[in-house]
Symmetry: C2
Subunit: 317 residues, 2 copies
């Protein structure tokens, strides 16, 4: 039973858009359609949804396509531009999937995607240690050349060659948050903050400039949920619950945990960097700011059950 209408920020992981190795437009749109069908019961229950999506495989491919040509007439665009393109692409797929589901189910609701900029801090320590590989593999010679010519940071990637690496700074502010809030409150399904948002830095005069970086979409979703003062942040991923002692004999799924309990598990090293760690950190950050908030980490399949408290991991203040 649903107790009340909530504002829910849903963060969709890579598996919500793409099955491994099926990169065609039609294959990705089929997965998006399936994802939307699984989210529909939340909307039918009366909740207001703001959807945030990842963009790793899609922006990766856009960068590869850009690098494959790169002539004066068709130059490679900076990474933030590829991020903007991926928001357009994935936003189109998702808003069409929601539109179609609403039509078929007779739900009178609009679905739109908002291009979203996320302000990052130029002094974020992430910029002094870029770690996220992006774009094609290079020989050491090529890597030296692009580093010199374009100012790229390059790193050797586990024996497979050299790649560009960029920073993954923490999101500080979502520029379009007020518009997103206005639309969500009026009942519109809003897709935004794709890939965590297009990273921008803000100068002293208030103007913005694109930054070649990537933002973790779970931190972006947590920030959006905070700015919307959402009731619930729902991080949907490939597993049905957060686990401690993962892969060991005493592995245990977490049902309900407080932010403090979760902090202890984080400190004890239960969660893998780049995988479950950013999700639990994002969840803790969101709920830790205000009592009454909750974060849910679960799989797409279990979304509705988890919202009703019968599946997944629920993190409270």
């Amino acid at each position: 039973m649903i107790d009340q209408a909530r504002t829910i920020v849903v963060a969709l992981g890579g598996n919500a858009l793409q099955k491994k190795g099926e990169a065609s437009s039609s294959a990705q749109q089929r997965v998006a359609d399936q994802t939307v069908r699984q989210l529909l019961p939340l909307i039918q229950a009366g909740h207001r949804l703001a959807v945030v999506h990842g963009n790793g495989p899609q922006v990766g491919n856009i960068v590869l396509q850009q690098e494959a040509l790169n002539t004066p007439e068709v130059p490679t665009m900076p990474l933030e531009d590829s991020g903007a393109m991926s928001q357009g692409l994935i936003g189109f797929w998702l808003q069409q999937a929601f539109h179609d589901a609403f039509e078929v189910q007779g739900i009178n609701k609009a679905a739109v995607s908002i291009i979203t900029q996320t302000v990052v801090d130029r002094d974020d320590p992430a910029f002094s240690n870029p770690t996220k590989p992006i774009g094609p593999f290079y020989s050491q010679e090529e890597a030296d050349r692009v580093a010199a010519e374009r100012g790229y940071n390059v790193k050797e990637d586990a024996g497979r060659g050299w790649r560009r690496v960029v920073a993954s700074p923490r999101p500080q502010r979502i520029v379009e948050a007020e518009t997103i809030r206005q639309l969500v409150e009026s009942g519109t399904l809003v897709v935004s903050t794709g890939g965590g948002g297009i990273p921008v830095s803000q100068a002293d005069d208030g103007t913005l400039s694109g930054v070649e970086a990537v933002i973790d979409k779970d931190f972006g979703a947590a920030l959006l949920a905070d700015l919307l003062d959402a009731d619930t942040l729902m991080i949907l991923t490939a597993v049905d619950a957060v686990k401690i002692n993962y892969g060991l004999e005493n592995e245990q799924s977490l049902g309900y945990v407080t932010a403090d309990e979760l902090s202890r598990y984080i400190d004890q090293g239960h969660f893998a960097a780049g995988s479950m760690l950013p999700k639990v950190e994002a969840a803790r950050e969101f709920v830790g700011k205000s009592p009454g908030r909750r974060a849910i980490i679960t799989s797409l399949d279990s979304a509705l059950e988890a919202l009703e408290g019968r599946a997944g991991t629920t993190i409270t203040y």
Copy 2:
């Protein structure tokens, strides 16, 4: 003197985003910044603006980048997906340019871009005679191959080789119009319907599917202006006014014309297909539907003067 606050749909031509041959991101963003500075007086005068932009050079480059790789892992996306990417890219540039101008001028206003789908009719006669070239040049052999493998229509292009051609159907409906209207009415600067909108067709059950076509952005802007019931459709282009007897001794700029007068000039063949013709047709279509509407065709430089009736061509009912 401004008489009253109006809702104005502004259609930006290619010259508002790119100078010939300057395709880099920074060069295009400089042009976008300049464009926005020229539109600012309209906003400062209290008018509500909805901005529609073209995407020809940008989507053309995205298609070339896609075709340059096209592997199973990084497949070429259909044309509607490239259109969506171009909306993300150009929307990002424009909304950032507006944001920055608002910050510097102390204007308290949000600027957002909405990914926009435009419904076209599968029975539109344009589909039986596709005319818009897109993508790379092919040899006749390659053209035959892509035609067979991908179902492309190909045509010989003025001795320069073969190219894919797609249809340019008339826009019938803008799917996200109600959200755009809501935002514009509440004072938000909205960028939408980029490249005329992403072409989609609607099935009997209401669901949408992407269509590999291009939509004329001026017709898209006229349709948006109609759906928003805007006061003014402003088509900004490279020339300061519509001209009859263009290039002849008796060439004459049009100041004020009615839709009927404009129709006569159209019938007399004064306007070049693919250039001024779609602009005057879009203008006539918008004003012809309701008295009190007006359309303005002028250059970016003359936008404010034209709105005050002191420059450009004004078309009334």
